[in-house]
Symmetry: C3
Subunit: 341 residues, 3 copies
């Protein structure tokens, strides 16, 4: 971060009713209580870390109103209702300073097809390609080297980072945020085995991304065989996640890094999948269900259920079996002892 | 999809000997019997779904010749020998309409080295880079932002999507299809541990891709330490797959998404690996062998064998052990009961 | 490889004190004893393969001084102190021939912000983007289509391959090597669940990469929520690896392909993780600890320990349990027999 605030500026940002101490240092970074050094802002976000405040060498600390200690020389305490909320305000301010919204316009190096429509309030950065009949909506930003295929549609206030590929006919609703290298609309993986060879099944569908979806770096979402691969409103997808053709993901789901979802599977709303979980094809994960990290889910999961392990089974059972599994050496000995009786 | 066909046009495409019903709607999409709405084409691909036809609200339906029901008002039935084959004909027609073959030529924004040879019938789209001595063969398409390194060779009728990187000296045979973000020819991961540091072992080999290979989005294939990393004719690789240095993959294999193959391992012809399977280094998977999704394969697999689990063992054994594993709580109780006798 | 050496040139490169045999063939490639064909150089790197030398059809062979056989007609033996070391010398020579250091300068197609500072000895290849206040240090190479965000810093003699994205404010020290498609500085994956929606937590930290780090193709490293995500000096990361926000990786670690590290976890120096291993959040892997391929590590690992399996447990225990697991059918039978007594 290339920022510098005085403690007084921080106090103004968070609306601190009271402060203690003085310093001539500027705040240039944020860190936890134990990691903070001179020039850092820190905060007491959880009462259990209260004892760490006295030893913290942060230049400024966001503390709850009822905190009773005294700042060290050259240190400032900023007392606030809720230190976590106050920190979020500081972060948002820094974010706006670090990444000001790019000005509208199309960079001179961009290759835009004559039939593409780019809204006058959109920003299309260097070396992007926007193909025939594609649409870039109001306030949307294509940072650099983004590819928008034929007839693809980008709604309002989307943000596409460098190297994103949005395939022909695919669409983003509004406020969609795509990290670098995301691929939307690669071919689905479908073949028929004919005379000893895998013959390609045409993949002519599209991918439809809902409002407020975010997708992590280098994740891949395949176009449907026909019809649509869907990601519902508010769903957040982490890095290196694979979503196969004709998958339908509901609203407000969370897919952690390196998850893989096989073809034609449905995730209902509010599903959560831990990192590296794998989900088989043509199944349904019910509303609000959860899969643990690394889980291998091969069959339907009821709404609200939590499964774990590979093959995935109900979480509590999996935990119990994991414990018993570690007691196998003992069990073998006990059976041997019984046999010798 | 941005298509519109009359049912009569569909009937002509599939060569339907008989139709029933009339409609003024155009066909704009394809969907399953239950998902189809007005404007959709659907089909009865499997006899077990026969009962769904009567309730389907598709505008047009591909049905077998012996189907006996009547269309609803505004709905058209198209009777054909084989509805699945007929659907494939429609898909192929839509595919050709959606993605017409780009015209030959090199976009003005492309950076081509003077010593590179691009065939006059090839298409090199915007913002590609083609380095010294590289070759792009007849009819091949580089869609946009593709990088072709020094001396790399691309055969006839290949298709490289945006953001593909083909490293120096690597080669594609004919009709190879690379999805966006594929990396071919990254350095192999090889180091020697010397005096507390990992010293790089030079990786000077290449990657050789055979005829009709397809590779999915953001998959990575490393160049050999020396000699060749090989992918055989007709093999299909899904998204986010890792192929390490000196791996040799035979013909007509299937590698599902997020598979990882460690260095110097050989896959003989017709091997199939499920999603997220991991294969250790310096081993051989025999002809036609299979690994289940998420399998962890650490040793040779005989030809034709099917392994599963982590560590991978024969499939039937793995299934049986999974069942017994879930009966562990019962087994512990039974042993306890015996001990109390 | 597009190289051609006479055996005499190879002898000079490796400083062979003695040779035997003659040939008119040129050396164009390197291969193992059994795979080598005419035109290949091979070597006896391990005494256990000594019997393979006589049958090898390599044109030239690097052999230890005490090897006693005779070359075939048209074959050359090159006797050296250490064939592996000799081979490394040949590889290094080929590497330098294949990939000569690019000449300094900024390609005419590059988009460089006026406030960016590119050292006069750096090479910035075609279609790169270097944003405001970014720094590219002496001798560093950006091959092509590399994105360097606002205020990002690249030290001395780094090498960034095509399609790399270095996010705003992130930094590389010296001699860092990034394979194609690496993303550094994507947003961390952090949300708070408020009123049924996942609200984004600002991710305003950076990523700091130490000296001599190498990162594999399409790997992703997220910026910190605040403060720093860190990769220590000399650490080597393979392809498709995910490093979440606020992870701190020590010096000289090895992360094999498709590893995933969850947020705020610490890897101390010399940690080694096998392919597809997954590490949970907010834990510490002690100095020199190891995780096996596919391991699922959910809690702290002591320094020097070796864990395996999912959930990961000490390696020797995991191996023993795997053996007992396969004996479950027998155990069930034995318990049944006891019950019938």
């Amino acid at each position: 971060m290339q920022v510098a605030y005085t403690p007084a500026e921080i106090a103004a940002i968070v609306g601190a009713p009271r402060t203690a101490g003085t310093t001539t240092d500027l705040i240039r970074d944020i860190a936890s209580l134990t990691a903070a050094r001179a020039g850092d802002l820190s905060f007491l976000g959880n009462a259990k870390y209260r004892a760490q405040v006295a030893a913290s060498t942060a230049t400024a600390l966001l503390l709850p109103l009822d905190y009773t200690g005294e700042p060290q020389p050259g240190q400032v305490f900023l007392f606030v209702e809720n230190p976590s909320v106050a920190l979020a305000k500081v972060c948002a301010r820094i974010e706006a300073a670090l990444w000001p919204k790019p000005t509208p316009g199309v960079h001179r190096s961009v290759i835009v097809a004559p039939t593409a429509r780019v809204d006058a309030t959109a920003h299309v950065g260097p070396l992007c390609v926007v193909e025939d009949d594609a649409v870039v909506g109001p306030g949307s930003v294509l940072q650099a080297s983004v590819f928008v295929g034929r007839g693809a549609q980008i709604g309002r206030d989307c943000f596409l980072m460098p190297g994103v590929v949005l395939g022909a006919g695919c669409s983003l609703a509004n406020r969609v945020r795509l990290q670098p290298g995301v691929v939307i609309g690669s071919d689905g993986f479908g073949y028929e085995f004919v005379n000893g060879r895998h013959e390609k099944v045409p993949q002519i569908g599209v991918v439809i991304i809902g409002d407020d979806v975010e997708i992590g770096a280098n994740s891949t979402l395949d176009r449907a065989r026909f019809s649509r691969t869907v990601v519902g409103e508010g769903t957040k997808i982490d890095n290196l996640v694979q979503v196969a053709h004709n998958v339908v993901i509901g609203k407000h789901c969370i897919l952690c890094a390196q998850v893989g979802i096989s073809g034609s599977t449905t995730l209902e709303d509010y599903v959560i999948l831990g990192g590296q979980a794998g989900v088989g094809g043509h199944i349904t994960l019910g509303k609000g269900s959860k899969g643990g990290g690394g889980a291998g889910i091969a069959s339907d999961v009821p709404a609200g259920a939590y499964v774990n392990g590979n093959p995935a089974i109900p979480y509590m059972l999996e935990r119990r079996l994991a414990v018993l599994h570690q007691r196998l050496p003992d069990l073998f000995k006990r059976v041997e002892a019984l046999e010798k009786k």
